[in-house]
């Protein structure tokens, strides 16, 4: 390979990425470089393109303009078949978990392994059990996703996302829809994965408790652009009105004007 991945450069890089759906611009020239081993949290209001940004990182969506790089290699112009090698290095935790509901928990977690690695039945069972232990659900192998609670689904989906020991794990709103305690379980899992597997993580969320807990770095999106980028400390102390309004969850006069009839 000509482009040798360097160990200290950014593992993922978005250059001037823009994307529109119909006439609606969602991303408007986003520049973002993510460092290896760091947990970057992307925050922003609903509909500001956080999930869209996340999907660009694994080329589930292709940008209308700009480029996406993974380990120094451009990926946004590759075909689906060419992307397989890169995608194997990613784990993606979807917002709705996206477990295959025709399969059991064990089959869901085994799925990426059977597709990509030559493992015996026993080896696969062992990996499945190990991943389930990691998310605290060992013993639920034979359940169907329909029989799990929302929090359990997220944890099974996380177990599936890390089945192939990915270098990067992408979390799309991992704590949304969970009660505060379950949400904190997920936060702890994100931290534990970072420590034990040494993964680079990107977390999309609008849950500030979660953001402060897991982030090494926080990036705020608004109007399709990065408007703030810093450590959790910065976000706690900054005077920037746009950031404060979101972080403190205070609706301003303009937000409230929609309520006036």
């Amino acid at each position: 390979m000509s482009t040798k991945p360097s160990d200290n450069g950014p593992i993922i890089e978005l250059r001037k990425v823009s994307k529109r759906f119909g006439s609606l611009p969602v991303l408007d020239g986003v520049d973002l470089a993510l460092l290896r081993g760091q947990t970057t949290v992307v925050i922003g209001e609903s509909g500001t393109g956080k999930s869209v940004l996340l999907k660009h990182i694994v080329a589930l969506l292709r940008p209308d303009g700009g480029e996406v790089y993974f380990r120094g290699e451009r990926i946004d112009d590759k075909s689906e078949a060419q992307l397989v090698a890169a995608r194997r290095r990613f784990g993606f935790l979807f917002q709705l978990s996206a477990l295959f509901d025709s399969m059991t928990v064990a089959e869901n977690i085994a799925f990426p392994i059977t597709e990509h690695a030559a493992c015996s039945k026993e080896e696969i069972d062992e990996i499945v059990a190990e991943k389930l232990r990691l998310v605290g659900l060992d013993g639920l192998q034979s359940r169907k996703p329909g029989e799990l609670s929302g929090g359990q689904k997220k944890r099974v989906a996380l177990a599936r996302a890390i089945a192939l020991n990915p270098e990067v794990v992408l979390y799309d709103e991992p704590t949304t829809g969970l009660d505060p305690v379950r949400a904190d379980v997920i936060n702890e899992l994100i931290l534990r994965l970072r420590r034990s597997l040494d993964v680079t993580s990107v977390v999309v969320t609008h849950d500030m408790t979660s953001a402060y807990k897991v982030a090494d770095r926080i990036v705020m999106l608004q109007g399709g652009k990065v408007i703030a980028d810093g450590t959790p400390e910065y976000f706690k102390t900054t005077k920037d009105a746009r950031v404060r309004r979101f972080v403190d969850g205070k609706a301003d006069a303009e937000d409230l004007s929609v309520l006036d009839m």
């Binding site: 993606f92 477990l99 597709e115």
Partner: protein, 276 residues
């Protein structure tokens, strides 16, 4: 041109480009399915994906196909018999009933029944997988959803529609025979003699041949609609309706084209055949 006229023209133009776009997308989708079908043949894993779909499309559809076929044959017999009796040709009933069933009604109605039973289910299944991000999940794991989800389903429809057509043919001719012979007192012997004279292997083959096209069409259309459905329960519902309507029209349109083609082939090979 006034503002509203310009607006109307713009929207009409937009609709046309959207339509052309979707048509192109469909053929691209069909092409990808074909490519993955041939590329995937060598992997045993893929054959295991096909088995449950064959069960779903073939075995589970058999009862409705048998019932549809039987009633079609019976209805033709009921409609035709008095006319034939009036001119004293009721013994030729077998020729008419069986030829209509084998050439046209068996394949077309089997196709339409399958479009309803299987097509709706395929669209709903893939549509739900799409809106719950399961298709994205497959892609993110480096698995091509066309290979994994679409090929086994389309292949099952393609392979089994002709076979199910044969079953519809069978119960159709039995239904026609039952009404003619047992209810309306036509002689069984001449009934089958005239059938043998009229129905050729080529007629049976025509039905089978059509079945392959109908199966491929309904499978591809249903999967395509599910694959690209709009979000939400409404999106899935609409995709199912569109899939059925489009499959229905496609089957009838294909039937016309194939009928013209097969007629030409038959005349080329054997010349004109008179039925009466």
């Amino acid at each position: 041109m006034s503002q509203t006229e310009a607006n109307l023209a713009f929207r009409a133009g937009q609709r046309i480009t959207n339509g052309v776009d979707a048509f192109g997308d469909f053929w691209l989708f069909a092409w990808r399915t074909a490519v993955w079908t041939f590329r995937g043949m060598g992997r045993r894993q893929n054959w295991w994906l096909l088995m449950p779909e064959l069960f779903e499309v073939g075995y589970k559809s058999l009862p409705v196909i048998l019932i549809t076929g039987a009633f079609v044959g019976m209805v033709i017999a009921v409609q035709a018999i008095e006319q034939f009796r009036a001119v004293g040709l009721e013994e030729r009933m077998g020729a008419v009933v069986n030829l209509s069933v084998v050439r046209e009604l068996g394949p077309v109605l089997a196709g339409i029944m399958l479009a309803g039973r299987i097509g709706g289910a395929l669209t709903a299944e893939l549509g739900t997988m799409n809106v719950t991000e399961q298709i994205d999940a497959l892609r993110s794991m480096g698995v091509d959803p066309v290979r994994y989800l679409v090929v086994p389903r389309v292949l099952a429809c393609f392979l089994l529609t002709p076979i199910l057509t044969l079953y519809a043919d069978l119960t159709g001719s039995l239904g026609g025979w039952f009404v003619s012979v047992f209810q309306r007192g036509v002689d069984s012997g001449p009934y089958w003699d005239y059938t043998e004279q009229a129905v050729d292997n080529f007629d049976l083959f025509s039905g089978l041949f059509k079945g392959f096209f109908f199966g491929a069409a309904l499978g591809l259309i249903s999967c395509y609609k599910g694959f690209f459905c709009k979000p939400g329960a409404e999106g899935v519902g609409r995709a199912c309706t569109e899939a059925f309507v489009t499959s229905f029209i496609a089957i009838l349109a294909l039937d016309y084209v194939l009928a013209v083609f097969l007629q030409a082939v038959s005349e080329k090979l054997w010349g004109f055949r008179s039925l009466l």
